[in-house]
């Protein structure tokens, strides 16, 4: 049973990393259940956590050990699926990428749903409007010819739009944007990021269509460069820069893509 014996040990690896010390952290969560509550309210929970735990682990501990009705979305648990954007201590972040050790635990950790999208329950908001504005910018390659093999694209051309291909549609940016909060009609940074991904793709032929869509009352011009989106993006996308590039492309009438 050499294998099994070893695996016992594997279990403990995380603990072996640092001197393990559990401490009690208070989470203050903004709850809302439309079936019961007229208004959202705040509720505290005390949880035993390790420094290496993430806010997602804390939420799981609460759901699994204290209050099963606490509701939130999550899936991958390592920041690539975009399910668990929420406001943690007043800033949009992914719960699965926010380590407890990076927060000040001498005070309660405030956790609430992202802002500007209709609140459904606890930390869950309705994402449909978010995806609706994504769909409006035609987020797909539009190219007429169908080559036998791959389309040729140089390394530099590929690099041109690399940053914006990283988007996981988590909505952290859009729901951090003060302009989006005002009436929710603004396309929002996420839609613009995804438009950018195609506008600056040398293979795409419909940059003008997307530039037209975004050259609109609710389009790029509503961005007031507040940079909340760039700060919030868990993928480190330079969102405001992408928006600025789209603005410049609208003004020039075409995107600035390397010729070769």
């Amino acid at each position: 049973m050499a294998g099994a014996a070893t695996l016992e040990a594997v279990d403990n690896t995380a603990k072996a990393e640092a001197p393990i010390q559990a401490f009690t952290v208070t989470l203050n969560i903004r709850r809302y259940d439309p079936e019961k509550d007229a208004e959202p309210y705040w509720q505290d929970f005390d949880v035993e956590l390790y420094a290496t735990d993430r806010v997602l682990d804390a939420l799981h501990k609460i759901k699994w050990e204290q209050d099963g009705s606490l509701t939130f979305r999550r899936s991958c648990a390592h920041g690539i699926c975009g399910s668990d954007a929420m406001r943690i201590n007043g800033r949009n972040r992914l719960a699965c990428k926010t380590l407890i050790k990076d927060l000040d635990i001498s005070k309660p950790i405030y956790v609430e749903a992202i802002k500007g999208l209709p609140l459904e329950k606890d930390l869950i908001v309705d994402m449909d409007p978010f995806f609706a504005s994504y769909r409006e910018i035609q987020p797909f390659l539009i190219a007429s010819s169908k080559p036998d093999k791959e389309r040729i694209q140089s390394v530099a051309q590929r690099e041109r739009f690399d940053d914006t291909t990283k988007c996981i549609l988590c909505a952290a940016c859009t729901s951090s944007c003060p302009v989006f909060w005002t009436d929710g009609q603004y396309f929002g940074p996420a839609a613009i990021v995804n438009a950018h991904r195609f506008i600056f793709d040398s293979r795409d032929e419909a940059a003008n269509v997307r530039l037209d869509i975004l050259n609109d009352k609710e389009g790029v011009w509503r961005c007031r460069t507040t940079f909340n989106c760039s700060e919030a993006c868990p993928r480190g996308i330079e969102v405001t820069k992408a928006i600025a590039e789209v603005k410049a492309a609208v003004l020039r009438g075409k995107p600035d893509i390397p010729k070769k």
């Binding site: 409006e136 929710g184 609109d216 609710e218 011009w221 609208v250």
Partner: protein
């Protein structure tokens, strides 16, 4: 305001229409272009009125009249008036669009537009038809100019 009682984001009635003159785009360009010019105009204006004379108390009709006797200052102030007022109203338009909704928004936008037009006209008339000689003056240089103009 809790998120539950704001309109569903991107409700269809507000979706884009094609306009020939795109006020958002030109507004955006204008804010930047006028901004750069305003830096010069506003600081020039402030400097001349507040710092240069060294005393706020000197600011009186005679001082302004003296200043406006020089056509360069008339042009300066005219530019300042137009650029700043349009810049400011366009900025306020953005704010109204952000924070006011429905009928109230329309009302505010009309009020803003009307105020802007009235003040532009008023300011322009004042500046272009200003006659420094309507008041008596003890400034000799000034009196000479008035006399010459008669």
């Amino acid at each position: 305001m809790s998120t539950q009682n704001i309109a569903a984001p991107r409700s269809p009635h507000l979706s884009h229409r094609k306009r020939r003159f795109n006020i958002e785009k030109w507004g955006w360009i204008y804010m930047r272009a006028s901004g750069v010019l305003l830096v010069v105009l506003v600081f020039g204006h402030l400097f001349y009125n507040l710092i240069f004379p060294g005393k706020v108390s000197i600011l009186d009709w005679a001082f302004v009249a003296g200043k406006l006797a020089d056509p360069i200052w008339i042009v300066w102030d005219l530019l300042l008036l137009w650029l700043a007022l349009i810049h400011g109203s366009n900025g306020m338009r953005t704010l109204i669009n952000d924070y006011a909704h429905g009928r109230f928004r329309t009302l505010l936008l009309w009020a803003l537009g009307a105020t802007t037009v009235v003040l532009l006209v008023l300011g322009t008339l004042v500046l272009t038809t200003f006659d420094p000689c309507i008041g008596g003056t003890d400034n000799a240089e000034f009196a000479a100019i008035c006399a010459a103009a008669q």
